[in-house]
Symmetry: C2
C-alpha cells in the first residue's frame, strides 16, 4: 500500500503543477496587457480619424495598426506555445473559454479596420467594437485571477486586473471627452457618463492599491506627472460646461495628449505588475520545489530504515516526523484556502454584475451591451452603485417574466 508519505509528496507536486500553470498564465496576462494597450491607442486614434472624416491622424492610425499587428503576432506566439494537448496547462475550462471569446474578437479586427479605412463606420460604432474586444481581454485576466489556486498569485492577478480595468476606464474617458470636445456640447446623460467613468477609475485603482505589492503602488504614485493631472482636471471642468462658451479647436488635441500621456505612464506600471507577477511565480515554484526535495530526502531515509532492519527508535522518530509534515501541510493548505477565499471576494462585485447581465439578457432578450447599459443607466439615474443595482436585479430573478 502506498504510504501516507507518497500522498504527502503528491500533494506538494499538485501545488508545483498549479504554480507552473500560473507561471504560464502570468506570461499570457503580460502579453494580453501589452496588446490591450495597443488596442486602446488604436481605438483613440481611430475615433479622432473617423470624427474628423479622415483629416486627422491618418498616418498615425496606419502606424498604430502596424504596431498593434506586431503585438498581435507576439500574443499569437504565446497562445500557440500553450500546448493544449498537455494536461499540465489544462486547468480551467472557463479560462480557455474566455480566451476563445477573445481570439474570436481578434479574428474580426481586420474587418473592423476595413470599415474604419472606408469611413463606413461611425466613430461611436468603431469605439464600441474596440471596447468589446478590450473587454474580452480583461475577461481573460479576470478569469486568470479567479481560477488561480495560489492566494499570493491570485492577489497579484487581482491587482493586475483592477489596474488594467482602471486604465480601460481612463481610455473610455479619453474617448468620451474627445467626443464632447469634438461636438462642442454636453448634455446631462453625457455628464453622468463622464462622472461614472471617473468614479470607476478611482474604484479600480483603489482595489489595485489594496492588492498590489507596495513597491508597485509607490511606483504608481510617482509615475504620474502633476502637470498632466492638473491639466486633465482643468479640461474635465471645461468639458463639463461645454456649450456655454465658444468651442476652442485646440481643446480636443490638448485633451487627447494629456489623457494619452497619463495612460502611457500607466503602461509602465502594467509592465512592473507583469514583471512582479512573473517573479512571484518563479520564487514560489523554487520554494515549493525545495520543500518537495526536503520531503523526498526524508522519504529516502525512511526507505533506508525499512525492511525489518530499521531500529525502532529511528522508525518512531520518522513516524513522528511524517505526522508532523502531514499536519504542517494540512494547516498550510487550510490557511492558503482561507486566504484564497478572501482574495476572491474582491472579484465578487464583477461576478454579481455579470450574473445580473446574464439574467437581463435571458429575460428581456437584450444583447450583452444593452444589458450592461440598462444596469448602468439605472445605477446613474438612481445614484446607486452598479453592484447594488445588479444585486437588486438578481433578487428579483424569480418574479421576472420569461427566461431560460
Amino acid at each position: 500500500m502506498k504510504s501516507a508519505l507518497s500522498y504527502l509528496l503528491a500533494a506538494r507536486q499538485c501545488e508545483i503543477d498549479e504554480l507552473d500553470r500560473l507561471a504560464h498564465t502570468s506570461e499570457l496576462v503580460g502579453a494580453v496587457a501589452r496588446f490591450t494597450h495597443a488596442l486602446q491607442r488604436e481605438r483613440g486614434i481611430s475615433n479622432i480619424f473617423l470624427a474628423s472624416r479622415g483629416e486627422r491622424f491618418a498616418p498615425q492610425r496606419l502606424e498604430q495598426v502596424a504596431a498593434c499587428e506586431t503585438l498581435r503576432s507576439e500574443i499569437a506566439a504565446r497562445f500557440d506555445a500553450l500546448d493544449l494537448e498537455a494536461n499540465r496547462v489544462r486547468a480551467s475550462a472557463r479560462l480557455f473559454n474566455r480566451i476563445a471569446v477573445f481570439l474570436h474578437g481578434i479574428e474580426g479586427l481586420a474587418e473592423l479596420r476595413a470599415g474604419i479605412a472606408t469611413h463606413s463606420l461611425a466613430p461611436r460604432g468603431a469605439t464600441e467594437a474596440y471596447s468589446r474586444l478590450i473587454a474580452g481581454a480583461l475577461a481573460v485576466v479576470f478569469e486568470a485571477a479567479d481560477s488561480a489556486g495560489d492566494p499570493e498569485i491570485s492577489r497579484a492577478l487581482v491587482a493586475m486586473f483592477n489596474f488594467m480595468q482602471g486604465k480601460e476606464f481612463a481610455g473610455q474617458e479619453r474617448a468620451h471627452g474627445a467626443a464632447v470636445f469634438t461636438s462642442g456640447r454636453i448634455d446631462a446623460p453625457g455628464q453622468r457618463e463622464w462622472r461614472h467613468l471617473i468614479e470607476q477609475q478611482q474604484h479600480c485603482f483603489k482595489v489595485f492599491a489594496d492588492f498590489s505589492d507596495p513597491g508597485v503602488v509607490a511606483a504608481e504614485h510617482t509615475s504620474q506627472d502633476d502637470k498632466t493631472l492638473a491639466q486633465i482636471e482643468r479640461l474635465r471642468r471645461l468639458g463639463w460646461a461645454m456649450g456655454a462658451e465658444p468651442v476652442d479647436a485646440l481643446l480636443i488635441e490638448s485633451w487627447y495628449e494629456c489623457c494619452t500621456h497619463r495612460i502611457d505612464a500607466m503602461r509602465i506600471i502594467e509592465d512592473l505588475l507583469g514583471a512582479n507577477l512573473r517573479w512571484l511565480c518563479e520564487s514560489k515554484i523554487e520554494e515549493a520545489r525545495a520543500a518537495l526535495r526536503n520531503q523526498q530526502a526524508i522519504l529516502k531515509t525512511l526507505d533506508l530504515g525499512s525492511g525489518g532492519s530499521r531500529p525502532a527508535p529511528l522508525g518512531l522518530r520518522l513516524e513522528r516526523s511524517v505526522l508532523e509534515m502531514v499536519k504542517e501541510q494540512s494547516s498550510r493548505l487550510q490557511a492558503m484556502s482561507d486566504e484564497l477565499e478572501t482574495v476572491r471576494a474582491a472579484l465578487n462585485e464583477r461576478k454579481v454584475v455579470e450574473r445580473a447581465k446574464g439574467l437581463l439578457m435571458a429575460h428581456r432578450q437584450l444583447s450583452e451591451e444593452e444589458a450592461y447599459k440598462s444596469l448602468r443607466q439605472t445605477a446613474m439615474n438612481q445614484k446607486r452603485r452598479l453592484v447594488d443595482v445588479a444585486e437588486a436585479v438578481l433578487s428579483m430573478a424569480d418574479i421576472l417574466p420569461g427566461g431560460r
Copy 2:
C-alpha cells in the same frame, strides 16, 4: 495563430479531464465508505469486548478484524491504482493531503488492535482512536465534494458525505448508549451528549435528503424497518432515565443489535449512493465526449472550407456557428459555476467549524480533539448551534491572545 475554435475545444477537454478525475475520486469514495463501515463495526465490537473485559464478542472481534483487513487491501488497491505521477489525477493538493492523513491513521491500526487485544486500552480511548480514523475517512469524502468542479457530481458527493457523517453519528450514539447501559447510569452531560448525537444525525440526513437523487431518498425511507426504529426510541428513553430503575443486563445487547441493524441498513443506501455517483460520472463523461465530437466535426467542416477557396456564405455561416458555440459554452460554464457555488455553500458550516478549531488549537495550544470538544461543550451549554459558536470564535480572532 490558434483559432478561437481550438481554445473552445480545449475548454471542453478540460471539462472531460475533470470528469475523468471525478470518476476516479468517486470510485475511491465508494471504497472509503465500505472500509469506514467495517471500522465502525470494529469500533462497536471492540468497545463491548473491552468493557466486558474480553468476556463478550471475542470471536466476533477477530472475525471483524479479518473482514476489515480484506477491505483494507481493497482500498489499498484503489489508492495504489491512482497514478500519482500522471497529471490527470493531480487536481487537488488538499484532497491528496487528506488522503495522506487518512493513510497515516490506517498505518497505526495494527498498534491500536494490539492495545485492544492485550486490554491495555480503556474502552473510551479505543473508541476515540477508531473515531479519529473514521473522521479522517470522512475528511477525504468532504474534500472530494469540496474540490469537485462539476456541480451535479459535487451535489452527489455532498449527499454522500452527509449520509456517511450522519451514519457516523449513529455509530457514536451506539457507542454512547452502550457505555450508558454498561455503567447503568447517566448524568446531565451524558444526556446532553446523547441529544447532541441525535440532533446531528437528523441534520446530516436532512442535508442528504436535500442533495441526493430522489430515488435514493425514497430507498432510504423504505430501508429502515419501523420495529427497529421504535425499539431504538424505547431504548433511548430508557437510557435517558438510566439509574432510576434497576439495570437490565439484556438492555445493552438489545441496544447494540437494534443500532447495528439500523446502521447496516444504512450501508445499503451508501452503496446506492456510490453506484449513483459512478453512474453520474459515466453519463456526464459520455455527454461531454459527444459534445466534443460534435464541435470537432464543425472544426473539420471549417478546415475543409478554408484556404481561400471557401465560399463566403459558408464561411460566414461557420463564423456565426463558432460564435454561437463560444457564447453557449460561456453561459453554460457560468451557470455551472453559479450552481457549484450554491452546492458548496452546504459545506460551509463544517469549514467554519474547522477554522474555529484551528484558531483554538493555535491560540490555546489545544489538540484537535480538545478544540472540538471545547466548541461542542460551549454549544451544548449555551444551547446554541455548533456553527454559531464557531462563528463567534472566529469573530473574536483579533482579540484572542497568542496565536501563530
